[in-house]
Symmetry: C2
Subunit: 170 residues, 2 copies
């Protein structure tokens, strides 16, 4: 089964992201707005308890932290993804790193650029239009993140939460 690890920001920030995603992100209906900590990975059903225990350990070793979103950016020319740019922080880096070492046993494909996708699968022309207008809007938001989630993917491509992990919880 395919699993992934993500942070859902507050309802407020999700509503903001969705106001763009609705028009520009074909994954709009598949998963709420999120920050990916670990991309889709395949594990057997009998490994899920182990993975879950390890993630609980990771969660306990990291305290809640402040998430800052400060502008709208794009991954172009790598790809035509537009996103809410999240300020890199030691806490996010730490969570990401722990989920890509040891038992998870693989290096991340790309360097970690924490973000909340709001538009993707755009043609070059669409990207240029949409990014042109969105980047002007600006965004300035801060909130405390105190949890992340392990999710699995259904056959239709949508994601269901398997478990929540609270940061720093005893």
């Amino acid at each position: 089964m395919k699993y992934g690890v993500a942070i859902f920001p507050s309802k407020k920030l999700q509503d903001t992201a969705n106001s763009y995603r609705k028009r520009y992100d074909p994954h709009y209906a598949l998963i709420p707005p999120h920050i990916t900590l670990k991309n889709s990975f395949d594990i057997d059903d009998d490994q899920i308890k182990d993975v879950s225990n390890k993630l609980e350990h990771v969660a306990r070793n990291h305290e809640p932290f402040t998430l800052k979103v400060y502008k709208i950016s794009s991954f172009q020319p790598v790809n035509n993804v537009i996103y809410l740019k999240v300020e890199p922080s030691a806490e996010l880096e730490g969570l990401h790193k722990e989920m890509h070492t040891n038992f998870f046993g693989e290096d991340p494909e790309y360097s970690f650029v924490p973000h909340i996708t709001i538009a993707q699968k755009l043609s070059d022309d669409e990207h240029s239009d949409v990014y042109g207008s969105l980047r002007m809007l600006g965004v300035e938001h801060e909130e405390v993140i105190d949890r992340f989630h392990l999710l699995y993917q259904l056959e239709n491509g949508s994601w269901t939460v398997y478990e929540t992990f609270r940061l720093g919880k005893e």
Copy 2:
């Protein structure tokens, strides 16, 4: 904010339910297939910690249990909702009851009929057609349920998981 409490069954059962929901349930994209334990309720942000603690208490007081789905049924004539019928069990009754007494302080609107919706908002004619063909299909499924989730609703009507509670967990 609007919250609700639900059980997500296994990927296998969710995939089955989605194969029908895709065509017949306008909520298909808003939430994965689920068994509602507590319908949408409004609470202030500062109450959520309290609610979460109480739900954790409920979860600890109930052990994992076997969920049985054994036929396709309909709520007609009350409404045109078609669903996978879940065999009532002491565990499901207990969970539902605890979430509608004490601090939750309200009696359920209806008697509890545990189910997984696969079709809704059908006209009478559609209902009769769809139910006529679905009820013939039959369904027979058993699995162990060991968790439930607290969710909140976004402005677009979709639901995000706030927290997972494991049954009987120490």
